[in-house]
């Protein structure tokens, strides 16, 4: 049975007919929309490499059926930078070497962006570590990841202060 669904992906509305309700958001992005920045590490919600934002919240796209997310607003790693202008989290990941092989990186960055929006961790390194624990990194770039988030958070705090001043 075909299912017509409509998604907003990185700001652009996409309407399509899904011929198979088994397709996850992750496989939809990667294999059908060819947005391969989002990675499949485990396909079981255990590694975080597939993290995307759905309606502003970070989730594991491997455990989300596309058909069930009809109408959702999706942000993937491809939609984060503005052209050549990196998102502050992206730039901070480079500056602090928050990755080695880079495979978990899109998920880490989406998770970090989601986390900053959740506003639970703030600039507390311990809370950041806890709140980023859903993203495994086998290379062990965690120290750089935490430093990158701290820098991005500091930047965000500063611009918020400027705005409210």
């Amino acid at each position: 049975m075909n299912h017509s669904i409509s998604l907003t992906v990185n700001g652009a509305r996409r309407d399509f007919v899904l011929d198979d309700p088994r397709v996850t958001l992750l496989d939809l992005l990667r294999e059908r929309l060819h947005l391969t920045g989002t990675k499949k590490g485990c396909d079981r919600g255990q590694c975080g490499a597939c993290t995307i934002l759905v309606d502003g919240k970070r989730i594991n796209s491997c455990l989300a059926l596309a058909v069930s997310h009809d109408g959702a607003d999706i942000l993937t790693i491809e939609g984060v930078a503005r052209g050549d202008q990196l998102h502050p989290v992206q730039a901070a990941f480079i500056a602090h070497d928050g990755f080695q092989c880079g495979f978990c990186t899109p998920g880490q960055i989406m998770s970090a962006i989601g986390m900053m929006q959740e506003a639970q961790a703030g600039n507390d390194p311990e809370r950041i570590r806890e709140c980023m624990s859903g993203n495994l990194c086998r290379c062990g770039a965690y120290a750089g990841i935490v430093d990158a988030v701290l820098e991005a958070q500091a930047g965000a705090d500063e611009s918020n202060q400027r705005r409210s001043a």
Partner: protein, 351 residues
């Protein structure tokens, strides 16, 4: 994943009707169901998607002082609801100690209540498992079972319930609202999960088509806000299931425990309410001796189901610690490492 028929009902009544077909199952966020389907553990013919149903995503304070949590409220939204965390801090702490931020953003309250066991033999479809396939046998009994049940298990099944959320909920006498073929009914959370006995495949009191629509915390549950903690021992600092956990909630009046609530996680096929331990604590001062006595009572009936005798002693110690932490008072903010023994960065951890 087996091919299935996907339906998205508009109302609860339609959902219940759609679920009547054999092989149908409800789909909420899918964080557990899809995992099971990918592993071939669950092979439904029809998914009834309830995520678009109206009105199930609200947190409501009722006139009698209860709190009603819609089944589709996400674990994260509930835990981060400031009013909720203030009134039911152990529940919020338990939620935040479970899974990962991503999973908590997706996973729903109703789904969490029906989370399936993490028993490796349940997941491994080549193993015999009475829960997965009634009457096939239990390969966990003589298998790798150091994390299995020490309470309420049977020869048929030694699996544990992995939920963190349910542990403080059962301690707080949560009530489950169910919509079924014959309309709405409610049961206590304690009645929802069944012990395995000879029918481990029957995990809950739900009948076919039953849909959990809400969880309610009765008015008395708020009375423990000042002294409530959840504590979880695990093999990673985060993103790991409990080896053993405990929720402890105390109502302390004039230096004495007016009422105690205690439940254990990771020890049985259901969140384990330790009423005998609660009784020991009623009316006594919150002392180390009292907590040790309570811990002893809580595990009186415990016995190892395999290579897991240590869990009994660990559970006793967790009970003592959780009660100690609860007696010390709920922290103003949920700790950076929720429910972790390492949550406290200062102040004595000893009873």
């Amino acid at each position: 994943m087996k091919q299935f028929d996907y339906v998205r009902p508009a109302t609860v009544a339609e959902a219940v009707a759609a679920a009547a077909q054999p092989g149908a199952t409800y789909l909420a966020a899918g964080t557990n169901l899809l995992d099971l389907m990918k592993g071939g553990v669950s092979r439904p013919d029809r998914l009834v998607d309830v995520t678009h149903l109206e009105g199930l995503d609200r947190i409501e304070r009722l006139a009698d002082g209860s709190l009603r949590i819609g089944a589709l409220v996400s674990n994260a939204d509930l835990a981060h609801d400031a009013g909720f965390a203030k009134s039911y801090p152990a529940v919020a702490e338990a939620l935040l100690s479970g899974a990962s931020a991503q999973l908590r953003n997706a996973a729903t309250v109703g789904g969490n209540l029906l989370q399936r066991t993490r028993c490796a033999y349940f997941y491994d479809t080549a193993s015999r498992c009475n829960k997965r396939e009634a009457g096939s046998g239990c390969d966990a009994r003589d298998g790798e079972n150091r994390t299995h049940a020490v309470l309420g298990w049977s020869k048929s099944c030694i699996a544990t319930n992995p939920s963190d959320f349910c542990v403080p909920l059962v301690a707080l006498d949560a009530i489950v609202e169910i919509e079924g073929k014959s309309g709405r009914r409610e049961i206590t959370l304690d009645e929802l999960h069944r012990l395995p006995g000879n029918t481990p495949e029957r995990e809950s009191a739900l009948e076919p088509c039953d849909l959990i629509v809400a969880v309610r915390l009765p008015p008395a549950a708020r009375g423990f806000a000042a002294h409530a903690r959840y504590l979880k021992v695990r093999e990673r600092t985060s993103y790991a299931f409990a080896i053993v956990s405990a929720a402890a909630a105390l109502r302390i009046e004039n230096g004495k425990i007016a009422e105690a609530r205690l439940a254990l996680g990771g020890v049985a096929a259901k969140p384990w309410r330790a009423r005998a331990a609660e009784d020991v604590l009623k009316g006594v001062a919150p002392t180390a001796d009292a907590f040790r006595e309570a811990a002893w009572r809580a595990l009186t009936d415990a016995k190892p189901s395999g290579d897991n005798a240590y869990k009994i002693e660990l559970a006793r110690r967790i009970v003592v610690r959780a009660l100690t932490l609860a007696a010390a008072g709920t922290p103003a903010r949920i700790p950076a490492l929720p429910a972790s023994p390492f949550a406290s960065t200062s102040g004595a951890i000893h009873a």
